[in-house]
Symmetry: C2
Subunit: 283 residues, 2 copies
Protein backbone atom coordinates (compact mmCIF):
# COMPACT_ATOMS: atom_id res chain seq x y z
CA UNK A 1 0.00 0.00 0.00
CA UNK A 2 1.32 3.41 -0.95
CA UNK A 3 0.78 5.24 2.34
CA UNK A 4 2.60 8.48 3.00
CA UNK A 5 4.79 7.00 5.72
CA UNK A 6 6.79 5.52 2.80
CA UNK A 7 10.07 7.27 2.12
CA UNK A 8 10.62 8.11 -1.54
CA UNK A 9 13.95 8.73 -3.24
CA UNK A 10 14.05 10.65 -6.52
CA UNK A 11 17.14 9.87 -8.60
CA UNK A 12 17.65 12.74 -11.06
CA UNK A 13 16.25 16.09 -9.98
CA UNK A 14 15.26 17.72 -13.27
CA UNK A 15 11.92 19.04 -14.44
CA UNK A 16 10.04 15.77 -13.94
CA UNK A 17 11.95 14.55 -10.88
CA UNK A 18 11.46 17.95 -9.26
CA UNK A 19 7.75 18.01 -10.10
CA UNK A 20 7.35 14.52 -8.60
CA UNK A 21 9.14 15.72 -5.46
CA UNK A 22 6.91 18.78 -5.17
CA UNK A 23 3.69 16.76 -5.51
CA UNK A 24 4.85 14.07 -3.07
CA UNK A 25 5.99 16.56 -0.42
CA UNK A 26 2.61 18.26 -0.62
CA UNK A 27 0.96 14.90 0.03
CA UNK A 28 3.05 14.40 3.18
CA UNK A 29 5.70 11.99 1.93
CA UNK A 30 9.30 12.16 3.07
CA UNK A 31 11.25 12.86 -0.13
CA UNK A 32 14.97 12.48 -0.75
CA UNK A 33 16.98 13.13 -3.91
CA UNK A 34 20.21 12.06 -5.55
CA UNK A 35 21.32 14.27 -8.41
CA UNK A 36 24.56 15.49 -9.98
CA UNK A 37 24.26 19.18 -9.22
CA UNK A 38 24.54 20.67 -5.74
CA UNK A 39 22.77 23.75 -7.09
CA UNK A 40 19.69 21.67 -7.91
CA UNK A 41 19.66 20.23 -4.40
CA UNK A 42 20.09 23.66 -2.81
CA UNK A 43 17.19 25.01 -4.86
CA UNK A 44 14.95 22.03 -4.05
CA UNK A 45 15.70 22.30 -0.32
CA UNK A 46 15.04 26.04 -0.31
CA UNK A 47 11.73 25.58 -2.15
CA UNK A 48 10.70 22.69 0.09
CA UNK A 49 10.58 20.16 -2.74
CA UNK A 50 12.72 17.64 -0.83
CA UNK A 51 13.72 16.86 2.74
CA UNK A 52 17.28 15.86 1.93
CA UNK A 53 19.52 15.63 -1.13
CA UNK A 54 22.96 14.31 -2.04
CA UNK A 55 25.21 14.53 -5.08
CA UNK A 56 27.01 11.30 -4.17
CA UNK A 57 25.60 7.80 -3.90
CA UNK A 58 25.91 7.17 -0.14
CA UNK A 59 25.00 3.53 0.68
CA UNK A 60 23.44 4.34 4.07
CA UNK A 61 21.42 7.19 2.60
CA UNK A 62 20.10 5.11 -0.34
CA UNK A 63 19.18 2.25 2.00
CA UNK A 64 16.76 4.49 3.89
CA UNK A 65 14.13 4.62 1.11
CA UNK A 66 11.15 2.35 0.42
CA UNK A 67 10.48 3.61 -3.10
CA UNK A 68 12.98 4.79 -5.70
CA UNK A 69 11.86 6.86 -8.71
CA UNK A 70 14.35 7.14 -11.58
CA UNK A 71 13.99 10.40 -13.48
CA UNK A 72 17.13 10.01 -15.59
CA UNK A 73 18.00 9.78 -19.27
CA UNK A 74 17.57 6.15 -20.40
CA UNK A 75 21.27 5.25 -20.70
CA UNK A 76 22.14 6.87 -17.37
CA UNK A 77 19.28 5.00 -15.69
CA UNK A 78 20.62 1.60 -16.76
CA UNK A 79 24.14 2.45 -15.59
CA UNK A 80 22.91 3.81 -12.26
CA UNK A 81 20.94 0.67 -11.44
CA UNK A 82 23.80 -1.58 -12.45
CA UNK A 83 26.28 0.31 -10.26
CA UNK A 84 24.10 1.08 -7.24
CA UNK A 85 21.27 -1.42 -6.84
CA UNK A 86 23.34 -3.20 -4.21
CA UNK A 87 22.63 -0.31 -1.79
CA UNK A 88 18.84 -0.28 -2.17
CA UNK A 89 16.77 -1.55 0.76
CA UNK A 90 15.51 -5.12 0.37
CA UNK A 91 11.84 -5.15 -0.67
CA UNK A 92 11.98 -1.66 -2.15
CA UNK A 93 9.77 -0.72 -5.10
CA UNK A 94 11.48 0.91 -8.12
CA UNK A 95 9.83 2.87 -10.90
CA UNK A 96 10.82 5.40 -13.58
CA UNK A 97 9.56 8.17 -15.86
CA UNK A 98 11.33 7.15 -19.08
CA UNK A 99 9.65 7.92 -22.41
CA UNK A 100 10.46 4.54 -24.00
CA UNK A 101 9.86 1.20 -22.35
CA UNK A 102 10.74 -1.99 -24.26
CA UNK A 103 14.46 -1.21 -24.33
CA UNK A 104 14.49 -0.21 -20.65
CA UNK A 105 12.03 -2.22 -18.58
CA UNK A 106 13.20 -5.69 -19.61
CA UNK A 107 16.88 -4.79 -19.17
CA UNK A 108 16.27 -3.39 -15.69
CA UNK A 109 14.20 -6.40 -14.66
CA UNK A 110 16.81 -8.82 -16.03
CA UNK A 111 19.64 -7.30 -14.01
CA UNK A 112 17.68 -6.54 -10.82
CA UNK A 113 18.28 -8.26 -7.48
CA UNK A 114 15.42 -10.72 -6.83
CA UNK A 115 14.38 -8.90 -3.64
CA UNK A 116 13.68 -5.64 -5.54
CA UNK A 117 10.83 -4.96 -7.97
CA UNK A 118 10.77 -2.51 -10.88
CA UNK A 119 7.49 -1.37 -12.51
CA UNK A 120 7.88 1.03 -15.44
CA UNK A 121 5.74 4.15 -15.67
CA UNK A 122 5.48 7.07 -18.08
CA UNK A 123 3.99 10.37 -16.92
CA UNK A 124 2.67 12.03 -20.10
CA UNK A 125 3.50 15.58 -19.09
CA UNK A 126 6.30 18.02 -19.69
CA UNK A 127 7.28 21.57 -20.45
CA UNK A 128 9.40 23.28 -23.12
CA UNK A 129 11.86 24.23 -20.36
CA UNK A 130 13.85 21.82 -18.25
CA UNK A 131 15.54 21.64 -14.87
CA UNK A 132 14.34 21.57 -11.28
CA UNK A 133 13.92 25.34 -11.32
CA UNK A 134 10.98 24.85 -13.71
CA UNK A 135 9.45 22.03 -11.64
CA UNK A 136 5.70 22.46 -11.34
CA UNK A 137 3.46 19.57 -10.37
CA UNK A 138 0.41 21.30 -11.87
CA UNK A 139 1.58 19.89 -15.24
CA UNK A 140 0.21 16.52 -14.04
CA UNK A 141 -3.33 17.86 -13.61
CA UNK A 142 -5.59 16.45 -16.32
CA UNK A 143 -2.71 14.49 -17.85
CA UNK A 144 -2.28 10.79 -18.62
CA UNK A 145 -0.03 8.33 -16.77
CA UNK A 146 0.84 4.96 -18.25
CA UNK A 147 2.09 1.99 -16.22
CA UNK A 148 3.94 -0.69 -18.22
CA UNK A 149 4.00 -3.93 -16.21
CA UNK A 150 5.51 -7.19 -17.43
CA UNK A 151 5.14 -10.84 -16.40
CA UNK A 152 7.92 -10.19 -13.87
CA UNK A 153 5.71 -7.85 -11.83
CA UNK A 154 3.40 -8.56 -8.90
CA UNK A 155 -0.10 -7.16 -8.78
CA UNK A 156 0.68 -5.42 -5.48
CA UNK A 157 3.63 -3.52 -6.94
CA UNK A 158 1.69 -2.55 -10.08
CA UNK A 159 -1.14 -1.26 -7.89
CA UNK A 160 1.32 0.83 -5.86
CA UNK A 161 2.79 2.42 -8.99
CA UNK A 162 -0.72 3.17 -10.28
CA UNK A 163 -1.54 4.72 -6.90
CA UNK A 164 1.62 6.84 -7.21
CA UNK A 165 0.14 8.28 -10.42
CA UNK A 166 -3.07 9.19 -8.59
CA UNK A 167 -1.13 10.74 -5.70
CA UNK A 168 0.84 12.85 -8.21
CA UNK A 169 -2.44 14.20 -9.57
CA UNK A 170 -2.75 12.48 -12.95
CA UNK A 171 -6.26 12.33 -14.36
CA UNK A 172 -6.12 9.01 -16.16
CA UNK A 173 -4.04 5.96 -15.21
CA UNK A 174 -3.64 3.22 -17.84
CA UNK A 175 -1.78 -0.06 -18.19
CA UNK A 176 -0.01 -1.04 -21.39
CA UNK A 177 2.66 -3.61 -22.01
CA UNK A 178 6.03 -2.07 -22.98
CA UNK A 179 5.61 -2.87 -26.70
CA UNK A 180 2.16 -1.29 -26.96
CA UNK A 181 3.38 1.68 -24.96
CA UNK A 182 6.22 2.25 -27.38
CA UNK A 183 3.91 2.04 -30.37
CA UNK A 184 1.51 4.60 -28.90
CA UNK A 185 4.32 6.91 -27.91
CA UNK A 186 6.07 6.51 -31.25
CA UNK A 187 2.96 7.92 -32.86
CA UNK A 188 1.59 10.36 -30.28
CA UNK A 189 4.81 11.85 -29.00
CA UNK A 190 7.91 10.96 -31.03
CA UNK A 191 6.34 11.49 -34.45
CA UNK A 192 4.89 14.82 -33.33
CA UNK A 193 8.32 15.97 -32.17
CA UNK A 194 9.81 14.96 -35.54
CA UNK A 195 7.11 16.99 -37.28
CA UNK A 196 7.76 20.06 -35.15
CA UNK A 197 11.50 19.87 -35.81
CA UNK A 198 10.96 19.32 -39.55
CA UNK A 199 8.60 22.34 -39.74
CA UNK A 200 11.13 24.51 -37.95
CA UNK A 201 14.11 23.43 -40.04
CA UNK A 202 12.73 22.79 -43.56
CA UNK A 203 13.24 26.39 -44.68
CA UNK A 204 14.46 29.76 -43.54
CA UNK A 205 11.84 30.94 -41.05
CA UNK A 206 13.60 33.67 -39.10
CA UNK A 207 11.69 36.54 -40.71
CA UNK A 208 8.28 34.86 -40.52
CA UNK A 209 7.28 35.65 -36.96
CA UNK A 210 5.42 38.83 -38.01
CA UNK A 211 3.08 36.75 -40.15
CA UNK A 212 2.43 33.80 -37.86
CA UNK A 213 -0.97 32.74 -36.61
CA UNK A 214 -1.62 30.43 -33.70
CA UNK A 215 -1.54 27.29 -35.84
CA UNK A 216 2.18 27.50 -36.55
CA UNK A 217 2.84 28.34 -32.90
CA UNK A 218 0.80 25.32 -31.79
CA UNK A 219 2.58 22.93 -34.13
CA UNK A 220 6.03 24.11 -33.09
CA UNK A 221 5.71 24.60 -29.33
CA UNK A 222 7.51 21.27 -28.91
CA UNK A 223 10.16 22.31 -31.45
CA UNK A 224 11.98 23.52 -28.34
CA UNK A 225 13.44 20.18 -27.59
CA UNK A 226 16.10 18.70 -25.34
CA UNK A 227 18.36 17.37 -28.09
CA UNK A 228 20.34 15.00 -25.87
CA UNK A 229 17.30 13.29 -24.36
CA UNK A 230 15.10 13.15 -27.45
CA UNK A 231 17.77 11.85 -29.82
CA UNK A 232 18.36 9.05 -27.31
CA UNK A 233 14.62 8.31 -27.04
CA UNK A 234 14.18 8.31 -30.83
CA UNK A 235 16.96 5.76 -31.36
CA UNK A 236 15.73 3.52 -28.53
CA UNK A 237 12.40 3.27 -30.37
CA UNK A 238 13.82 3.38 -33.89
CA UNK A 239 11.77 0.67 -35.62
CA UNK A 240 8.46 1.93 -34.27
CA UNK A 241 9.29 5.55 -35.02
CA UNK A 242 10.27 4.78 -38.63
CA UNK A 243 6.94 3.01 -39.11
CA UNK A 244 5.00 5.96 -37.72
CA UNK A 245 6.92 8.45 -39.87
CA UNK A 246 6.11 6.34 -42.94
CA UNK A 247 2.40 6.14 -42.06
CA UNK A 248 2.23 9.91 -41.62
CA UNK A 249 4.33 10.66 -44.71
CA UNK A 250 2.05 8.44 -46.79
CA UNK A 251 -1.01 10.37 -45.64
CA UNK A 252 0.72 13.71 -46.38
CA UNK A 253 1.28 12.42 -49.91
CA UNK A 254 -2.41 11.46 -50.20
CA UNK A 255 -3.37 15.01 -49.20
CA UNK A 256 -0.78 16.37 -51.63
CA UNK A 257 -2.34 14.34 -54.46
CA UNK A 258 -5.84 15.51 -53.52
CA UNK A 259 -4.65 19.13 -53.71
CA UNK A 260 -2.77 18.52 -56.98
CA UNK A 261 -5.88 16.90 -58.51
CA UNK A 262 -8.23 19.57 -57.10
CA UNK A 263 -10.11 16.69 -55.49
CA UNK A 264 -12.39 18.75 -53.25
CA UNK A 265 -14.49 15.72 -52.27
CA UNK A 266 -11.52 13.80 -50.89
CA UNK A 267 -10.11 16.86 -49.13
CA UNK A 268 -13.43 17.57 -47.48
CA UNK A 269 -13.89 13.93 -46.48
CA UNK A 270 -10.47 13.87 -44.79
CA UNK A 271 -11.18 17.17 -43.07
CA UNK A 272 -14.55 15.95 -41.78
CA UNK A 273 -12.99 12.73 -40.46
CA UNK A 274 -10.22 14.77 -38.86
CA UNK A 275 -12.70 17.15 -37.21
CA UNK A 276 -14.81 14.32 -35.83
CA UNK A 277 -11.85 12.41 -34.41
CA UNK A 278 -10.25 15.45 -32.83
CA UNK A 279 -13.26 15.92 -30.57
CA UNK A 280 -12.17 12.77 -28.70
CA UNK A 281 -8.92 14.41 -27.64
CA UNK A 282 -10.14 17.44 -25.77
CA UNK A 283 -8.84 17.44 -22.22
CA UNK B 1 -8.71 58.87 -41.82
CA UNK B 2 -10.39 56.03 -40.00
CA UNK B 3 -12.34 57.99 -37.40
CA UNK B 4 -15.24 56.35 -35.59
CA UNK B 5 -17.86 58.50 -37.26
CA UNK B 6 -17.34 56.18 -40.25
CA UNK B 7 -20.12 53.65 -40.74
CA UNK B 8 -18.88 50.10 -41.30
CA UNK B 9 -20.78 47.28 -42.99
CA UNK B 10 -19.77 43.68 -42.32
CA UNK B 11 -20.76 41.31 -45.12
CA UNK B 12 -20.86 37.80 -43.68
CA UNK B 13 -21.50 37.55 -39.95
CA UNK B 14 -19.55 34.44 -38.94
CA UNK B 15 -16.79 34.02 -36.39
CA UNK B 16 -14.48 36.63 -37.90
CA UNK B 17 -17.17 39.04 -39.15
CA UNK B 18 -18.83 38.89 -35.73
CA UNK B 19 -15.53 39.46 -33.92
CA UNK B 20 -14.82 42.48 -36.15
CA UNK B 21 -18.29 43.84 -35.35
CA UNK B 22 -17.77 43.37 -31.62
CA UNK B 23 -14.41 45.15 -31.63
CA UNK B 24 -15.67 48.03 -33.80
CA UNK B 25 -18.82 48.59 -31.74
CA UNK B 26 -16.68 48.77 -28.60
CA UNK B 27 -14.59 51.46 -30.28
CA UNK B 28 -17.71 53.51 -31.00
CA UNK B 29 -18.26 52.76 -34.69
CA UNK B 30 -21.72 52.35 -36.15
CA UNK B 31 -21.77 48.76 -37.45
CA UNK B 32 -24.18 47.16 -39.88
CA UNK B 33 -24.28 43.61 -41.21
CA UNK B 34 -25.53 41.67 -44.20
CA UNK B 35 -25.62 37.93 -43.74
CA UNK B 36 -27.72 34.97 -44.86
CA UNK B 37 -29.18 33.92 -41.53
CA UNK B 38 -31.75 35.95 -39.61
CA UNK B 39 -30.74 33.98 -36.51
CA UNK B 40 -27.19 35.37 -36.75
CA UNK B 41 -28.55 38.91 -37.02
CA UNK B 42 -30.91 38.42 -34.08
CA UNK B 43 -28.04 37.11 -31.98
CA UNK B 44 -25.71 39.95 -32.99
CA UNK B 45 -28.36 42.57 -32.21
CA UNK B 46 -29.16 41.03 -28.84
CA UNK B 47 -25.44 40.90 -27.92
CA UNK B 48 -24.85 44.44 -29.13
CA UNK B 49 -22.36 43.41 -31.84
CA UNK B 50 -24.17 45.42 -34.54
CA UNK B 51 -26.59 48.32 -34.80
CA UNK B 52 -28.56 46.93 -37.70
CA UNK B 53 -28.59 43.79 -39.85
CA UNK B 54 -30.31 42.50 -42.98
CA UNK B 55 -30.50 39.15 -44.76
CA UNK B 56 -31.26 40.79 -48.11
CA UNK B 57 -29.11 43.18 -50.12
CA UNK B 58 -31.12 46.39 -49.86
CA UNK B 59 -29.61 49.10 -52.10
CA UNK B 60 -30.49 52.00 -49.76
CA UNK B 61 -29.12 50.14 -46.76
CA UNK B 62 -25.82 49.22 -48.47
CA UNK B 63 -25.38 52.80 -49.71
CA UNK B 64 -25.28 54.07 -46.14
CA UNK B 65 -21.81 52.69 -45.33
CA UNK B 66 -18.35 54.21 -45.75
CA UNK B 67 -16.38 51.03 -45.26
CA UNK B 68 -17.34 47.49 -46.29
CA UNK B 69 -15.59 44.47 -44.77
CA UNK B 70 -16.09 41.17 -46.59
CA UNK B 71 -15.92 38.19 -44.23
CA UNK B 72 -17.09 35.60 -46.74
CA UNK B 73 -15.74 32.43 -48.31
CA UNK B 74 -13.55 33.41 -51.32
CA UNK B 75 -15.93 32.31 -54.07
CA UNK B 76 -18.94 33.93 -52.39
CA UNK B 77 -16.97 37.15 -51.96
CA UNK B 78 -16.26 37.45 -55.70
CA UNK B 79 -19.90 36.79 -56.59
CA UNK B 80 -21.20 39.26 -54.00
CA UNK B 81 -19.04 42.08 -55.30
CA UNK B 82 -19.93 41.34 -58.89
CA UNK B 83 -23.66 41.35 -58.11
CA UNK B 84 -23.86 44.18 -55.58
CA UNK B 85 -21.02 46.66 -56.01
CA UNK B 86 -23.41 48.92 -57.88
CA UNK B 87 -25.14 49.75 -54.55
CA UNK B 88 -22.01 50.72 -52.62
CA UNK B 89 -21.53 54.42 -51.80
CA UNK B 90 -19.13 56.23 -54.13
CA UNK B 91 -15.73 56.66 -52.49
CA UNK B 92 -16.25 53.77 -50.09
CA UNK B 93 -13.29 51.71 -48.88
CA UNK B 94 -13.56 47.91 -49.22
CA UNK B 95 -11.48 45.30 -47.45
CA UNK B 96 -11.70 41.59 -46.60
CA UNK B 97 -10.46 38.86 -44.27
CA UNK B 98 -9.75 36.14 -46.83
CA UNK B 99 -6.95 33.66 -46.15
CA UNK B 100 -5.56 33.72 -49.71
CA UNK B 101 -4.83 36.85 -51.69
CA UNK B 102 -3.39 36.52 -55.22
CA UNK B 103 -6.50 34.81 -56.57
CA UNK B 104 -8.84 37.29 -54.86
CA UNK B 105 -7.35 40.76 -54.68
CA UNK B 106 -6.50 41.17 -58.37
CA UNK B 107 -9.90 39.84 -59.48
CA UNK B 108 -11.76 42.18 -57.16
CA UNK B 109 -9.68 45.17 -58.22
CA UNK B 110 -10.13 44.31 -61.92
CA UNK B 111 -13.92 44.25 -61.68
CA UNK B 112 -14.37 47.12 -59.22
CA UNK B 113 -16.01 50.44 -60.10
CA UNK B 114 -13.30 53.11 -60.40
CA UNK B 115 -14.82 55.17 -57.56
CA UNK B 116 -14.39 52.33 -55.05
CA UNK B 117 -11.12 51.03 -53.59
CA UNK B 118 -10.37 47.55 -52.31
CA UNK B 119 -7.36 46.83 -50.05
CA UNK B 120 -6.94 43.18 -49.05
CA UNK B 121 -6.20 42.24 -45.44
CA UNK B 122 -5.73 39.00 -43.54
CA UNK B 123 -6.36 38.87 -39.79
CA UNK B 124 -4.20 35.98 -38.54
CA UNK B 125 -6.60 34.81 -35.87
CA UNK B 126 -9.29 32.21 -35.54
CA UNK B 127 -10.88 29.56 -33.36
CA UNK B 128 -11.69 25.86 -33.78
CA UNK B 129 -15.38 26.78 -33.62
CA UNK B 130 -17.23 28.96 -36.11
CA UNK B 131 -20.28 31.18 -36.31
CA UNK B 132 -21.21 34.55 -34.84
CA UNK B 133 -22.19 32.85 -31.56
CA UNK B 134 -18.48 32.17 -31.01
CA UNK B 135 -17.41 35.71 -31.97
CA UNK B 136 -14.81 37.03 -29.54
CA UNK B 137 -12.60 39.96 -30.44
CA UNK B 138 -10.06 38.98 -27.79
CA UNK B 139 -8.68 36.53 -30.40
CA UNK B 140 -7.09 39.58 -32.09
CA UNK B 141 -5.04 40.49 -29.01
CA UNK B 142 -1.37 39.78 -29.61
CA UNK B 143 -2.11 38.47 -33.13
CA UNK B 144 -0.75 39.47 -36.53
CA UNK B 145 -2.61 41.36 -39.26
CA UNK B 146 -1.33 41.47 -42.82
CA UNK B 147 -2.35 44.11 -45.37
CA UNK B 148 -1.80 43.12 -49.02
CA UNK B 149 -1.80 46.26 -51.17
CA UNK B 150 -1.20 46.31 -54.93
CA UNK B 151 -0.18 48.99 -57.42
CA UNK B 152 -3.92 49.78 -57.74
CA UNK B 153 -4.10 51.08 -54.17
CA UNK B 154 -3.62 54.59 -52.79
CA UNK B 155 -1.47 55.22 -49.75
CA UNK B 156 -4.44 56.79 -47.94
CA UNK B 157 -6.59 53.68 -48.34
CA UNK B 158 -3.75 51.37 -47.31
CA UNK B 159 -3.17 53.48 -44.20
CA UNK B 160 -6.88 53.28 -43.31
CA UNK B 161 -6.90 49.49 -43.60
CA UNK B 162 -3.77 49.31 -41.44
CA UNK B 163 -5.47 51.57 -38.90
CA UNK B 164 -8.47 49.23 -38.97
CA UNK B 165 -6.11 46.45 -37.82
CA UNK B 166 -4.93 48.60 -34.91
CA UNK B 167 -8.50 49.52 -33.97
CA UNK B 168 -9.40 45.82 -33.95
CA UNK B 169 -6.63 45.20 -31.43
CA UNK B 170 -3.98 43.42 -33.51
CA UNK B 171 -0.47 43.55 -32.10
CA UNK B 172 1.53 43.62 -35.31
CA UNK B 173 0.49 45.13 -38.64
CA UNK B 174 2.52 44.17 -41.74
CA UNK B 175 2.38 44.82 -45.46
CA UNK B 176 3.06 42.09 -48.00
CA UNK B 177 2.21 41.90 -51.66
CA UNK B 178 -0.41 39.21 -52.45
CA UNK B 179 2.17 36.74 -53.80
CA UNK B 180 4.43 36.96 -50.75
CA UNK B 181 1.40 36.75 -48.49
CA UNK B 182 0.31 33.54 -50.15
CA UNK B 183 3.75 32.02 -49.86
CA UNK B 184 3.95 32.82 -46.13
CA UNK B 185 0.43 31.54 -45.51
CA UNK B 186 1.01 28.43 -47.61
CA UNK B 187 3.80 27.54 -45.21
CA UNK B 188 2.64 28.93 -41.86
CA UNK B 189 -1.04 28.14 -42.06
CA UNK B 190 -2.05 25.85 -44.92
CA UNK B 191 0.80 23.39 -44.52
CA UNK B 192 0.18 23.21 -40.76
CA UNK B 193 -3.49 22.42 -41.38
CA UNK B 194 -2.49 19.66 -43.84
CA UNK B 195 -0.18 18.22 -41.19
CA UNK B 196 -2.89 18.25 -38.53
CA UNK B 197 -5.36 16.52 -40.84
CA UNK B 198 -2.76 13.95 -41.92
CA UNK B 199 -1.88 13.17 -38.28
CA UNK B 200 -5.53 12.70 -37.42
CA UNK B 201 -6.33 10.50 -40.40
CA UNK B 202 -3.18 8.43 -41.05
CA UNK B 203 -4.20 5.64 -38.70
CA UNK B 204 -6.93 4.52 -36.34
CA UNK B 205 -6.64 6.87 -33.37
CA UNK B 206 -9.98 6.52 -31.61
CA UNK B 207 -8.63 4.52 -28.68
CA UNK B 208 -5.53 6.66 -28.16
CA UNK B 209 -6.94 9.49 -26.09
CA UNK B 210 -6.05 7.76 -22.80
CA UNK B 211 -2.37 7.85 -23.76
CA UNK B 212 -2.06 11.32 -25.23
CA UNK B 213 0.27 14.00 -23.98
CA UNK B 214 0.00 17.68 -24.75
CA UNK B 215 2.17 17.44 -27.87
CA UNK B 216 -0.40 15.47 -29.87
CA UNK B 217 -3.16 17.79 -28.64
CA UNK B 218 -1.12 20.82 -29.72
CA UNK B 219 -0.42 19.49 -33.19
CA UNK B 220 -4.05 18.56 -33.81
CA UNK B 221 -5.99 21.48 -32.31
CA UNK B 222 -6.45 22.79 -35.85
CA UNK B 223 -7.50 19.33 -37.06
CA UNK B 224 -10.98 20.63 -36.25
CA UNK B 225 -11.33 22.33 -39.55
CA UNK B 226 -14.10 23.92 -41.62
CA UNK B 227 -13.92 21.56 -44.59
CA UNK B 228 -15.81 23.81 -47.00
CA UNK B 229 -13.68 26.89 -46.37
CA UNK B 230 -10.29 25.22 -46.10
CA UNK B 231 -10.64 23.01 -49.17
CA UNK B 232 -11.47 26.17 -51.12
CA UNK B 233 -8.46 28.03 -49.65
CA UNK B 234 -6.09 25.12 -50.38
CA UNK B 235 -7.08 24.96 -54.04
CA UNK B 236 -6.87 28.73 -54.48
CA UNK B 237 -3.23 28.52 -53.36
CA UNK B 238 -2.48 25.14 -54.92
CA UNK B 239 0.97 25.73 -56.44
CA UNK B 240 2.37 27.36 -53.33
CA UNK B 241 0.87 24.74 -51.02
CA UNK B 242 2.30 21.86 -53.07
CA UNK B 243 5.75 23.47 -52.87
CA UNK B 244 5.50 23.85 -49.09
CA UNK B 245 4.29 20.27 -48.65
CA UNK B 246 7.28 19.07 -50.68
CA UNK B 247 9.74 21.14 -48.65
CA UNK B 248 8.35 19.78 -45.40
CA UNK B 249 8.11 16.20 -46.68
CA UNK B 250 11.76 16.37 -47.78
CA UNK B 251 12.83 17.42 -44.29
CA UNK B 252 10.74 14.64 -42.71
CA UNK B 253 12.63 12.21 -44.94
CA UNK B 254 15.95 13.70 -43.80
CA UNK B 255 14.95 13.15 -40.18
CA UNK B 256 13.77 9.65 -41.06
CA UNK B 257 17.19 8.86 -42.58
CA UNK B 258 18.98 10.26 -39.53
CA UNK B 259 16.91 7.97 -37.29
CA UNK B 260 17.41 4.98 -39.60
CA UNK B 261 21.17 5.58 -39.63
CA UNK B 262 21.33 6.26 -35.86
CA UNK B 263 22.91 9.58 -36.79
CA UNK B 264 22.77 11.19 -33.35
CA UNK B 265 24.93 14.14 -34.42
CA UNK B 266 22.55 15.15 -37.22
CA UNK B 267 19.46 14.63 -35.07
CA UNK B 268 20.90 16.78 -32.30
CA UNK B 269 21.99 19.47 -34.75
CA UNK B 270 18.47 19.69 -36.20
CA UNK B 271 16.96 19.76 -32.72
CA UNK B 272 19.28 22.54 -31.60
CA UNK B 273 18.48 24.60 -34.70
CA UNK B 274 14.80 23.97 -34.13
CA UNK B 275 15.00 25.02 -30.47
CA UNK B 276 16.89 28.21 -31.29
CA UNK B 277 14.49 29.24 -34.05
CA UNK B 278 11.35 28.50 -32.07
CA UNK B 279 12.31 31.15 -29.52
CA UNK B 280 11.56 33.79 -32.18
CA UNK B 281 7.91 32.73 -32.32
CA UNK B 282 6.80 33.22 -28.75
CA UNK B 283 3.92 35.63 -28.53
Amino acid sequence: MLTNDKKILIVGLGLIGGSYAQALKRRGFSVGAVTRSQGSIDYALKEGLIDRGMTEVDPDYIAGYDIVVFALYPGVLLKWIEANQQYIKSGALLTDVTGVKSKIVYKVQAMLRPDLEFVGAHPMAGREVGGVRNADCSIFQGANYIVTPTAANTEAAIADVEELGRVLGFARISRLNPELHDEMIGFLSQLTHCIAVALMTCREVEHLSAYTGDSFRDLTRIARINDEMWSELFLLNKDVLLEQIDLFAGQMQAIREAVANSDTDLLRELMRQSTERRALFDK
